[in-house]
Subunit: 462 residues, 2 copies
């Protein structure tokens, strides 16, 4: 494709996206496709000759769109949001266009330096501790962040012996709440510990936050059994209900036993751009690593997990390998960061551009307004739920996630979810809270206005 | 950003990229930035108020561009290429615009089905075995592919016990050539085996391909020592010289001992779109998994690693976890693929769109022409090197990578590289072959024409 052809088709694609956002409300939120229906509509064999780009756009409309669940729809209240925004999309487009690969500082100095810089900006915007300064990196997802934090923890707990002996150098244990995302269990399996190494910390039935006294008891039992507590994950905003684990108390217990404390604040962390929500940061000055996803609730399209470590030595110890083909003067000078040593992949995309574009376009003010609007709408929604005697709230809802259920029980609650989701009018998902089904209403699309939340409530209560 | 603002700024960004490709040759290939210079030119603090998008584009030109090493430059001959192309960039832009997250089939059926479908197309285009049909997935990078293949291998070798016991369920060993990418060692460390579990297979000094008789000897020694050979990585196109390991012989040895054979064909695999290069596939019908990167040499911008397994059961066994909040009817029906179980991250971008756009725009014919042009240019370059008595070729060069050195020795060879790279006229990197420094000349940019290769040779020989 020549630059001129790119110009022509590129303008059409930009217009297609702008039109999409203008028409977003006309689509059913949840795709109504049957399994296999998209594949059945695609040619079985790849084309021998090239086709015009317009043919791709035509099939996008005719074949692909019916199979899309619209995460950017104003009535998407499922899972957690996966925000996109204009400046993020354009920043990402610039990254695709430049096509640089920032595995080493030397392979595009600006890709590394802008990333370190923008993560310092974000650290400041979120009120995160000074010790994270200069120690930020973009990971793909929160699951990747939990994994690399675990690898750093194992490296530290083993005195570096995991590099050669792997997890055979000890019997390491990991702790997280029963409400934590599956990422912690997946990390245990990927890192060779297996799921048996994972201890689940009980939660308080009211707050759904992990109980520090149970963490302490679990760790002490493991120490007594000759095991090595290596890694604790505290959730700031659990996936189920948005609960906030007591980070400060966790930090005291973890450090007493030499375990690494990682905070997974994938969804909720970015809310601390608002000073009134900085209570979410209580204790984070004591933790070893911290991750939050601008790709969830901070207007930056997937993927962009912001991850910081207090001390990068263990992380680099766990992941650095320098083969001959990557040796270069800048690396050997020690004056630069080579981000390939901060995660599993070697190659890396210039993802800092989109976060840079978002922060500059919205400014701190705009980012705060974005978060505040969703928190306010959620509080209003929760007040409606509380006022309707058929429903009950099942957990605290200080941010933009409200969990609730029908008093009529699990079957009725699940049936309600299935009915509204099938209508295409809105989309919400469920979880289990204290053993019972609960619905999750997560507000996060920049397109969501009060009227969409009102309409959702009308659909739910009718 | 409103849809109308997006339209306006989006057209400007598209034009910026088109202009960039038109002017690409005017930039020095390798950035001449000093460490810290980019950061020093950026404001220390994030903006309080939002800024116009034009300010971002201005700083992109003034601050970021001097720090860019131009991977798309026609005279970029370093590492391996990281191809971008117009249809890929626009396919990726559509993915950003749609902003869907395809962790489950249910969260956007088209994102899953198009991915399975396009990987079946690619399987056919590359002449890969029938047993991979329906079993493809896009991983971020070849390193991620090696890691998940290793996890599947450990699951199988342990009879599923790694799920609970991790690598404590046995003493597993891994085998790869001394010339394999650092990904295999990194995977051993990430997966908890440690680098001591990795056995390096000697290579033939002439071909630089791993010696199957040495693989057999290593495996037999480990079996005799009571260890469990679990995973073998064969490289089709090593990073250093592009050597091709004997996959068929490896497969016989691996299967005799129950080990999983993964083929890492990150760079070279896509060349098999040309029937005359299908010799690269010899034996792949016998392997357990296979990965190649359209984001290297098949016009698809980073990241896009195409990964197939012969039997998905071990992969899913290693990586499936189903928390309550992800339960849904489609998953429970068993009729769909949920790609979150095929890799480490939970969330995933709609990356199939860019590969779909590339295959449709170029067609099989266009993709073949792209590969053939680079192979021809490389053969011509190699003939010039061979004809100049000051130089020598150091390894076979059947594809688009030529490795060579000055007969005058390591210092002279390294000095030559540093001189041409500092000129900004071209960029190439080095490796070690049989203990001596060698330069790697990798042709891969779609912008590269014969005159760029001629100019590079003129700079190298002057």
């Amino acid at each position: 494709m020549t630059p001129d052809e790119f110009r022509k088709h590129g303008h059409r694609v930009v217009d297609w996206i702008a039109d999409y956002y203008e028409q977003l409300e006309t689509f059913p939120v949840l795709s109504q496709s049957a399994p296999g229906s998209i594949r059945a509509a695609l040619p079985a064999a790849p084309p021998e000759q090239g086709e015009p780009f317009d043919a791709v756009l035509r099939d996008l409309d005719d074949v692909i769109m019916p199979g899309i669940t619209h995460w950017q729809h104003p009535s998407f209240f499922a899972y957690f949001p996966a925000n996109a925004s204009g400046p993020a999309i354009l920043g990402d487009l610039l990254a695709s266009g430049l096509g640089v690969q920032g595995m080493l500082w030397a392979t595009s100095p600006a890709a590394t330096e802008l990333e370190t810089h923008v993560l310092d900006w974000l650290r400041e915007l979120l009120g995160l501790p000074e010790r994270f300064r200069g120690n930020g990196v973009i990971q793909h997802t929160a699951s990747d962040a939990v994994l690399v934090a675990l690898l750093a923890a194992l490296h530290r707990a083993s005195g570096g012996r995991t590099e050669h002996d792997g997890v055979h150098s000890g019997r390491f244990t990991v702790y997280t709440s029963t409400q934590t995302h599956s990422a912690a269990e997946k990390a245990c399996r990927v890192a060779g510990l297996g799921s048996d190494a994972l201890r689940k910390i009980d939660v308080d039935p009211g707050t759904q936050a992990a109980r520090p006294e149970h963490l302490r008891a679990l760790i002490e039992a493991d120490v007594a059994a000759g095991l090595t507590p290596a890694f604790v994950v505290a959730s700031v905003g659990t996936t189920g209900t948005g609960a906030v684990d007591p980070v400060r108390e966790f930090a005291e217990i973890a450090h007493e036993h030499g375990a690494w404390l990682h905070v997974d604040a994938a969804w909720a962390g970015v809310a601390t751009v608002c000073p009134e929500l900085r209570w979410l940061n209580d204790g984070v000055e004591l933790v070893d690593s911290y991750g939050t996803n601008p790709h969830k609730w901070l207007l930056t399209n997937f993927d962009c997990d912001a991850f910081w470590v207090a001390d990068r030595a263990a992380l680099l110890g766990a992941l650095s390998i320098l083969p001959e083909f990557l040796r270069n003067a800048a690396t050997e000078s020690g004056a630069v960061i080579d981000y390939r040593d901060w995660h599993v992949p070697l190659g890396r995309r210039f993802r800092a551009l989109k976060l840079w574009a978002v922060i500059r376009w919205y400014g701190a003010e705009g980012l705060r307004a974005h978060i505040r609007e969703h928190v306010e709408l959620a509080q209003e929604f929760a007040s409606w739920v509380a006022a309707d005697e058929r429903f009950e709230l099942v957990a605290p809802h200080p941010l933009s996630l409200v969990t609730f259920r029908l008093r009529a029980g699990d079957d009725a609650t699940r049936a309600l979810m299935e009915r509204v989701n099938a209508s295409g009018q809105l989309y919400l998902t469920h979880t289990a809270v204290n053993g019972a089904v609960a619905l999750r209403f997560a507000i996060g699309s920049p397109q969501t206005q009060r009227r969409h939340v009102e309409a959702a409530w009308a659909a739910l209560r009718s």
